[in-house]
């Protein structure tokens, strides 16, 4: 499909490419080549793709249905409420893309893939192709400087190897930290009186999560958390919430990977514990929670 010829009638290859494209199963390169082919205007392939796109659109209906937990509906309402009050709706200012109507919001952590390109506007694909072409020309024009940079890369390789050693060491440190963490969690899990409080990520960082393992006998709480890096001058603080008070349970300092771990001990029990929350606070922590909640879990 990399050729620029238009197809007068459906070919096996054309159908194959269109089917794989609709399913998002082409490699990125193949998908871009097919994009280019369509852009040049091949009505045969476009018609094939449209039909296969419809098939793929229908496939989702075959998955088994499952009722989501009821609290998700409330969470959605809260989130939409926030969106409405915080950001003006783009309803009148957005100009729909003439072709594909679903630009995908990509998270920075996910790898770009052949799958998503089905929904990327053609414009983006075209820009990528132009960028690629430009990069190739620049590369051909300037081999000499490329060779110079290869030399430089060799030196860099030595530095890289050293960095790699450091990274491995860090990984080992992380693993040993993780195993001591697991030992602490296991200690709580062995307690005859224990509770686990899962904390869900809230609006500032919905991907965050945390768990509080509570040993009711020993008045010990083991906390693990996965949080985004705290902004400069801010720290994460854990709170135990009772009907009458919000009690600080100390700071949580995530490592580079965003993983935080803490063991909290109190002389007496915190009862009745209604919820646990992690908030973002000014450096040093606060007497009472001030900043937004990053993770929250109610004690059921």
């Amino acid at each position: 499909m990399t050729d620029s010829l238009k197809h007068d009638s459906v070919t096996k290859e054309g159908q194959e490419t269109a089917a794989l494209y609709a399913l998002g199963a082409l490699t990125q390169l193949e998908a871009r080549a097919f994009d280019a082919h369509l852009q040049e205007g091949c009505p045969t392939c476009r018609a094939e793709l449209e039909q296969f796109d419809q098939v793929v659109g229908a496939l989702g209906s075959a998955a088994p249905t499952e009722a989501p937990p009821t609290y998700l509906r409330d969470l959605l309402c809260v989130r939409i409420e926030k969106e409405t009050t915080e950001t003006p709706l783009p309803s009148r200012s957005v100009i729909p893309f003439p072709d594909k109507t679903i630009p995908t919001l990509r998270t920075p952590t996910s790898t770009p893939s052949a799958f998503s390109r089905t929904f990327l506007p053609w414009a983006v694909a075209a820009v990528l192709l132009i960028a690629l072409a430009y990069a190739l020309t620049a590369w051909q024009k300037d081999r000499r400087s490329l060779q110079a940079s290869i030399e430089a890369n060799k030196k860099e390789a030595v530095v890289l190897a050293q960095q790699e050693n450091a990274a491995l060491k860090e990984q080992l440190d992380n693993e040993s930290a993780r195993s001591s963490e697991l030992a602490q969690i296991n200690a709580v899990l062995r307690s005859p009186q224990r509770r686990i409080i899962p904390l869900e990520g809230q609006t500032p960082a919905p991907d965050s999560s945390a768990k509080v393992y509570w040993d009711l006998q020993a008045n010990t709480w083991v906390v693990t958390a996965d949080l985004p890096p705290a902004p400069e001058g801010k720290v994460y603080q854990l709170w135990f919430v009772t009907p009458t008070a919000k009690i600080s349970a100390g700071l949580i300092t995530p490592n580079k990977a965003g993983h935080g771990f803490a063991v909290v001990r109190f002389a007496s029990s915190v009862t009745p514990l209604a919820a646990a929350a992690i908030t973002l606070e000014p450096a040093g922590g606060s007497q009472q929670p001030t900043m937004p909640i990053y993770a929250l879990g109610k004690v059921s």
């Binding site: 159908q15 794989l20 419809q54 249905t65 009148r92």
Partner: protein, 176 residues
Amino acid sequence: VADGDQSALTALYDSTSRLVFGLVLRVVTDRSTAEEVLLDVYTQVWRQASTYDAKRGAPLAWLMTIARTRGIDRLRSGKHEHQHKESLDSIGEITAGAPSPEEDTVTAERRSLVRSALETLSAEQREVIELAYYSGLSHSEIALRLGQPLGTVKTRTRLGMIKLRDMLRPMLEGQI
């Protein structure tokens, strides 16, 4: 929803969330991840409803496409890869073919049409299409996973998709 009407979104949620959650769960397999993705899906619908063009396809297909994309993006980010792989089969057994009382008849009809179309495929054709659909794998990744030559995977995909297209044609043309 296109007018940014909040009650329209909750109405849409009420009539479609079982479908969307089922699909997302099938893709990401981990329940808590699926819950996060579900919220993301409807938030995206809320933001993009104004750009949705009814001429370009059934709204349900649009919604399910967002759900699948979101699910696979999350799967690719790999955060929850190690979790609860085994839950997939049990979920399928418990809920397959158990329509919700609120589910409207059009949706139920659509589901049964798509399911019966899938059943007309050979097991091999269904396998490659489901792998591509639910796991977002590329053709070569599918070939690798199944231990089949790439050409075989491509042919199975093509034949399976053509068969699905032919089987679903009445439904797709009616834009159910």
